[in-house]
């Protein structure tokens, strides 16, 4: 038997809220939103962790400007390094830019190992960036992290929303707490708001397309001055203030 699963609840028992940032489609802005949520929560004085579980394309470290040569602290496991008040963990801390071609079972094994050996300590929030869709990574954290909440990110597109429908189907099937849906790269249309109403999920707000964002990636100070960050703060207040119901 695999003993590692038994220790996972112990590793996360002092984390108050565990939020997975999820989407149906790729390229909708999950990584930026997950990273900025962590950053703004930290600015609010919360104790925050950020876990990048997008094994094929980890990039939270690029958004937050975390140096590639960062090493992890080791003490009876791994202590995630601290950046701008955020405890950060990603396979990228070991892979350092190389390709990591993993298949299903390997992905599960890597996630279980990561959850079994990472010592987060006490956190107010753990934000988890996930790959798009109903991936192995998402299935594994839904199975292993008790009390996981999902924050859905989409763009205002019929194609993206169709994939969110499938994702919602899964999340509801496994009884996940759904915090709500965030509309990224908003064009001022109502389709995401109407979608949220139709599927009875909370519309948490919209983030406009911001041309300055690309130039601000990797620079925390510049990121905080973007319109995206401003929108994230508004959304964050709704997340913090919301009572979550199953």
């Amino acid at each position: 038997m695999d003993p590692r699963i038994s220790i996972v609840p112990e590793r996360i028992k002092n984390i108050k809220r565990k939020i997975a940032v999820v989407s149906g489609k790729g390229g909708v802005g999950k990584t930026v939103i997950a990273s900025l949520l962590a950053l703004e929560l930290s600015s609010m004085g919360k104790i925050v962790g950020l876990l990048d579980l997008d094994f094929n394309g980890p990039s939270c470290h690029i958004v937050l400007g975390i140096p590639e040569d960062t090493s992890v602290e080791e003490e009876k496991g791994i202590i995630p390094p601290l950046f701008n008040g955020i405890r950060f963990m990603s396979l990228e801390l070991f892979v350092k830019g190389r390709a990591l071609p993993l298949r299903g079972n390997d992905i599960s094994n890597a996630i279980i190992e990561l959850l079994a050996i990472t010592r987060w300590g006490s956190l107010d929030y753990l934000i988890i960036d996930t790959p798009p869709g109903t991936s192995d990574e998402l299935l594994d954290i839904l199975r292993l992290i008790d009390g996981l909440e999902a924050l859905i990110v989409t763009i205002p597109s019929k194609l993206a929303l169709k994939t969110v429908e499938r994702l919602l189907d899964l999340l509801k099937m496994v009884n996940t707490n759904i915090i709500g849906i965030v509309e990224n790269m908003s064009k001022g249309t109502d389709i995401v708001r109407e979608f949220a109403k139709r599927f009875n999920i909370r519309y948490l707000g919209s983030i406009p397309y911001d041309e300055k964002l690309e130039g601000a990636l990797g620079d925390v100070g510049a990121l905080k001055r973007t319109n995206v960050s401003e929108s994230i703060i508004t959304i964050l207040h709704r997340i913090i203030g919301l009572k979550i119901t199953r």
Binding site: M1, L100, N109
Partner: protein, 148 residues
Amino acid sequence: MLNLLFVIGILCMVHEWALAESIVRAVLDIVRERKLKAVLEVKIAVGQLQQIEVDIFRDALKEISEGTLLKETRFSIEEEEAKFKCRNCGYIWKFNEIKRSIKEDDAEAIHFIPELAHAIIRCPRCGSPDFIVVRGRGVRIVSLRGIT
């Protein structure tokens, strides 16, 4: 020399400790589920790929078990040779054959998360990173002998 050995021991302790904790926790879960009165022996397989220091792992198991029902339990540890099979060309090779070519940092990365081998190890015949770890990946409980 003694000081150096001590430092190496402490450094290695980190990961072995986390895995030993998971073994003890898992066995105690089984004790609760099966309502066991005592656990006489736990057989553990330690895959070579994870490069566990067995003596340190054994010491960690002993220390973590103190004050639990597993205090007197015998932990039998068996090392399992790591073997790979290339999905591309079918070649089978052993970790021992390539171990020396792995840099220290990379060996440490594999020690933490054995799947990182896919970013580091290539098939010695065709160079593909698409391989299966046939055996010897990491730590698992093989069997447990207890009293009901």
